[in-house]
Structures are given as C-alpha cells and as structure tokens.
Symmetry: C2
Subunit: 106 residues, 2 copies
C-alpha cells in the first residue's frame, strides 16, 4: 500500500489502538509518515507526540510496548485502526485502557 | 461531567465509534461541543462534518443511525469512545465498518 495517500489531507492522522484479543479500545494517538514507517519496520507502535513534538516509541520508558498484529485504514484513508498485543497497560495512569472517564454508561 | 473541558485544547475532538455488542470499531468522526450536546440530548450520534462544515446527524439520509449505549473520554479528555447500537451499516460504502483497507493482516 502507498502510505503517502494517508497523509494527503494532514501530516498527522489519528490511530486507534485496539486490543487484538478482546477488541477493547486502548487509546488513540497520532501518527505521521515517519512514525508509521517505524511502526511497520519494527512491529511495535511509534507515534508522533504532539506535546513533545517528537517521535514516540510507545513503551520505550515504561516497557509497555504494543506489538502490532493487524492494521487497517478507513474508507477515507485518513484514520488508522491498529490491533495490538499490549504488554503491561496502555495508559500512563496505570489503567489498562485510557478510556475510563464515564460520560454515559448503561 | 463538565463537557467544556473536552474542548479546551481543540474545538474538534475525535470520537471513536464502536459496536456495543461485538466491540468492532466502526468509524471515527469529529465532534464539537454542539454535536456532543445533540448526541447526549437525542441518544443518537451527531458529528461535525469537516468537509461540509456543518452539524451532521449520522444516518439522517441513509437511516443508518447509531443509538448511543455508553460513552467515555480518555485520560487526557481529548478523545471520545462511544459504544453504539448500529442500525444498518456504519460506512457510506455499504461496508459494516469503515476500517476495511488492509495495511497489515495476521
């Protein structure tokens, strides 16, 4: 697949990270072309940190890396869905998923 | 929950839409404060269409509405995860999920 077409509209696109076993959504982060290339090369997720303005190898400090299992783009080719094997937890707070703030629950 | 804090960094935030039964990720779209309010009021998803520059009631034309079952924000309060009951299909192409372009598969 030609990766350039993913970055036609924007240099940064959202990547949804999903647990490949349970399908739980773990986090959302942003990728640029370089971080997507690093992800495909290494088989682990790399993002672009908007706050630090640099490439970010998820888990480099914490050890909580994400091994890529499957990857898809959407119908508009401007969003990624990445299914991963999560080592440890996804969230820096210690929660397994970053989506723990309840706005509306069953 | 105070909704304003979700829009501190940006007027538009990504909303991940997930099937509440299967946990399949269906699509990603953007919400502003007004579309989030409409979503909470009506119990169906409303987004901000970046291409058309207007509020977008998902399924208004196609009938493929999304009934909200659960909603969460992430640890940074800048992304939403919304679990829905999807009527019909989520994607305008006729696919159930928008994420059908394979970049890497098992």
């Amino acid at each position: 697949m030609e990766l350039n077409k993913l970055f036609k509209k924007s240099e940064l696109i959202p990547a949804i990270i999903q647990d490949s076993t349970t399908n739980q959504v773990l986090m959302l982060a942003y990728m640029n072309h370089a971080s997507l290339e690093k992800t495909l090369e290494t088989g682990e997720t790399w993002f672009w940190s908007r706050s630090r303005g640099e490439l970010w190898h998820k888990g480099e400090t914490s050890g909580h890396i994400q091994r890529v299992v499957e990857m898809y783009s959407d119908c508009d080719d401007d969003t990624l869905l990445i299914k991963v094997e999560q080592v440890g937890v996804a969230c820096h707070t210690g929660e397994y998923s970053c989506f723990f703030n309840e706005i509306l629950t069953k």
